[in-house]
Each structure stands twice: as C-alpha cells, then as structure tokens.
C-alpha cells in the first residue's frame, strides 16, 4: 500500500467518522426534540403549578386582593394580576409561573432567586436584591415587580410559608368559583380542556411556565 493510498483511506475514514457523527447527532437531537414537543411533562414530578379556568372566572379580583393583603405588597408591586380581555367576561388571573427554566434566576446577578427542589417554587429574597431590574426584562410574564418605594423587586412565592404549614395559597383559598386552583403540574395538565400553554401567552419554550389555562 502506497503512502498516498494510506492517506486517502485515512481521509475516507475521517469522512466516514464525520458522517457517523453527524448521523448520531441528528438521531440524538431528533428524539430529544420530539420528546419535548410531545409533552410538557415537568422534569420535577412534584413541580407545583397554577390552573386558571377562564370558564369559571368571574373577574371578581378576590385573588389579587387576598394576595395583596396576605403578602403585604410593596408600593407599586402587583404579585397577582387579573387581566380583562377584549371579550366580555373573559379574564386571566396570573402571577409568577414558577417556571421550570426560571430566567429571572439565571439573569439575577446576586442570586436573589432560588427554585426549591421540593416543589419547584421560585422564591425571591428581597433582602439581597440590589434592584438592577434585569429580571424585569427577562421574565416574559412580568412576574417580578419593582417598587420605586423600596428600590427592590418582589414577587409571588406561591405562599410557600402557608403551604409549608399545610394551608392553601391565599389566592386559591378565596376564589369563590374554583376558577383558580393549584396542584402538581403533571396532574393539572391532565385536566379536561386544559391547555399546557395558552397560545396567546409568550412561547413556553422561553421559561417552561407551570401554568395551565382552561380557555373560554
């Protein structure tokens, strides 16, 4: 075997390996994508989430009022908002979605956000927040709220202290029609008529929110 032949063979080997690698990559990537597109199954089976049933919501705003009273919102910081749509009697109650990929936590330079392993609740520690406002841009749902008054962020923490004591989140507790409920995200997603993601909300790939909506 001449030297050049050897060389050409080894070059072919390289090409073959390259093709195998590319193939493996394609094969490896495709199922991953399919699996992701296939289901929104939370990575953490105990991930908690909110379910908002627009068919039951009457727009009374008791949820946001209770949240404000329980969590003593700082001036200008709205942890939960009830949004009225253009159509009559169609509302959305939204707060923090305690996302699987909390971008607030990844952009926060001071690590003020922590996602609990136990239930996936994203908790913001306002005592170490420096007020850089980076998370206000990063969160697609406007969950972090800035108070000019105190110069810091605060947001919904899913009433984790109440939950740890076995109580319901304040917003869920007061909802008179059962429009706002909560539970393990995996279970909520199985609810009849539930959308893992309302199409008019920001693309779920950005943060993988733990919010399920039953649209009206």
């Amino acid at each position: 075997m001449s030297k050049s032949e050897k060389l050409s063979i080894s070059r072919r080997r390289v090409l073959q390996m390259g093709a195998v690698f590319a193939g493996a990559l394609a094969v490896g990537v495709a199922p991953g994508q399919l699996a992701e597109a296939d289901s929104n199954t939370p990575k953490n089976p105990n991930q908690l989430g909110f379910l908002h049933d627009q068919q039951k919501c009457i727009g009374c705003r008791k949820c946001s009022t209770a949240c404000k009273a329980t969590n003593k919102w700082e001036e200008g910081a709205k942890w939960r908002r009830v949004i009225a749509s253009g159509r009559p009697e169609v509302f959305l109650s939204i707060s923090c979605n305690h996302c699987e990929k909390p971008v607030c936590a990844s952009v926060c330079p001071v690590k003020a956000y922590k996602k609990r392993d136990k239930d996936g609740i994203v908790i913001h520690d306002k005592d170490i927040c420096v007020g850089c406002k980076y998370c206000l841009y990063a969160c697609p749902y406007h969950a972090p709220q800035y108070s000019e008054d105190t110069g810091r962020i605060s947001k919904c923490h899913f009433c984790y202290e109440r939950q740890d004591k076995g109580l319901l989140p304040a917003c869920v507790e007061v909802c008179p029609t059962g429009a706002l409920t909560f539970g393990r995200l995996a279970d909520l997603q199985k609810t009849e008529g539930a959308l893992a993601q309302a199409q008019w909300l920001p693309a779920p790939e950005i943060t993988k929110p733990s919010l399920v909506v039953i649209p009206k």
Binding site: V103, S106, P109, V110, L201, I206
Partner: protein, 310 residues
Amino acid sequence: MEMYWNWLVVTYLFLGGLGAGAYLTSFAAEMGWLGQKSGLKKMGYFIGGPIVGLGTALLVFDLGQGFHKPWLLWRLITNMSSVMTWGTIVLAVFIMVGVLKGYLAFINKPAPRAVTWFGALLATATGAYTGFLVSVIDAIPFWSSNIIPVIFFVSALSTGLSITVLLSHIIEKTESENSREDAVHLGLILAELAAVAVFMGLMVSGANGVVAQKSAALLISGKYAIVFWGIFIGVGLLFPLAVYALRLRTANRTENMTLAAGEMAMTEEEPPKHSYLTIITDAAVLVGGYSLRMMIIFAALPIWDGIKIP
C-alpha cells in the same frame, strides 16, 4: 410601555464601550496597527479605565439599593450563570488593569507585555459584554440577537478611536492624524453600517417575531425615526464616513504628488488644517454611538405586554 432602564443605563453601556474602545485604540497604536507615526499611543490608556469606572459608578445610581444598602453590591459577582455577574467581574478587573496601564504610560514606564495584552483582552470583553447583556434576553425579541454584541463592539471601537483622537487633539495637541487612522475608522464605520443593516433587516423581516418588527418600526418610522435616521445613521455614520473617505482620497493624492516631487517634499509638514473638521467628526461619532445605545434600550418591547389577552 414601561421602561425599566433609563438614561443612566444607556450612558453606562455607552461609557463601557467608549472606555474599552479607547484602550484598544492605544493598544492598536502601540502595536503599530495605526501607522508608524500614530499619536494615539497613550491617550486611550489614560482614559480607558477611568471612563469605564465612571460608567460603572453611574450604574450604582440606577440600582435600587445603590445607596440604600450598598453592602449588598458585593453579591453582584455571585451568580456565574448571569451575564451581569460576568460583566461586573470583567469591568472591575478591566478598570484596575486599565488604570495600571494608564499610570505606567503616564510615567513613561513600559508595562509588562502581559499587562498590556490582558488589558486588551478585558477591553474586548467589556465592549462585547454591553451587547451580550441585552442579547441574552429572549423575552425582548428586539434584543434577542447575536448581532447586537457585534454592533456594540464595533461601535465601541469606533467611539473609542474618536474620543482618543479628540482628546489627543485638544489636550496633547498632536497633529499626527495619519491616513492610516482614517482608513481604520472608515473600515469600522462600514462594518457598523453593514451590521446594522443586517440586524434591522432581520428584525423587519419578522425573523424574531411580530414584537421585534414593532420595535424596529419605532426606529424606522416611529417615535425614534429622527434619532435613527438623523442622528445615528446621518450624523453618526454617514457624515464621518464621507469625511474619512474624502480625507483619504486627498491624502492619497498628496502622497502621490509628494512621491512625484521627490524626497524634498517629504520634509515639508502639512499644516493641521483638519483640526476643526476632526473635532466635529469625532464628536459626531460619539453622538451616534450614544444614540445607538439609547435606541436599543428604549425600543425594547416585551414579547408580551402583560396587559392584553385576546
């Protein structure tokens, strides 16, 4: 829409790029990349670290806790997954290395090669960081593009070159604008124009979604149209482009004539007739660079406004 970041952040992003660009200008001059006779070998080193330091100080004013609980600020370096943490580290180290290099240049002591090059590396990172800070934010479609760090970095080099020329001119009274500097600046402006064209083209095309299109429309035909076309493109890019191009042409002609006239003419120094034009042109570059940061920050529309549902 609500603008969470205001003029302080715009100024900070501008000064971050400016200081980094100034350092890199003197670095390029020291390396001989700006021609053998460049008079820019020091001024950029003097001002690079201090300008970035000034910008960082301004940022503290923007932090809600900047004066409330300043002791919290040390934590800014704790989240290694945050671009802002990386930026804080890069800026802090650059300010120190930049000031050291500036001091050594001031007392005419040669800096160790490692210091000079480390400073250049940090300056590059600083210039790019100001772009990455916004480009990683997916919830702002107008920011979510890797072209932004490119634009910001080129603009950093361009504004840095201008401030260095400007201050060398006013303070050091150097008259050594050589055509090499003009050629480099011309190249930077052409690169910036190209990058901006690609960026705006992508945003307008809808590649980043409807919201990015709306942001782009604010610049092209909306409330920032005068800033975009008049100040950024006109004053900040096309005017300097024309000046550098014309001056290069004149310089080429003179060079040819001098060559033809022989060695005699070489000793004759050209009078510094470009002085005022230089000041105006470099000031225009700075204004353009500032307006760029302002538009990018202020035209940031969120992917969802949080107010409307169908």
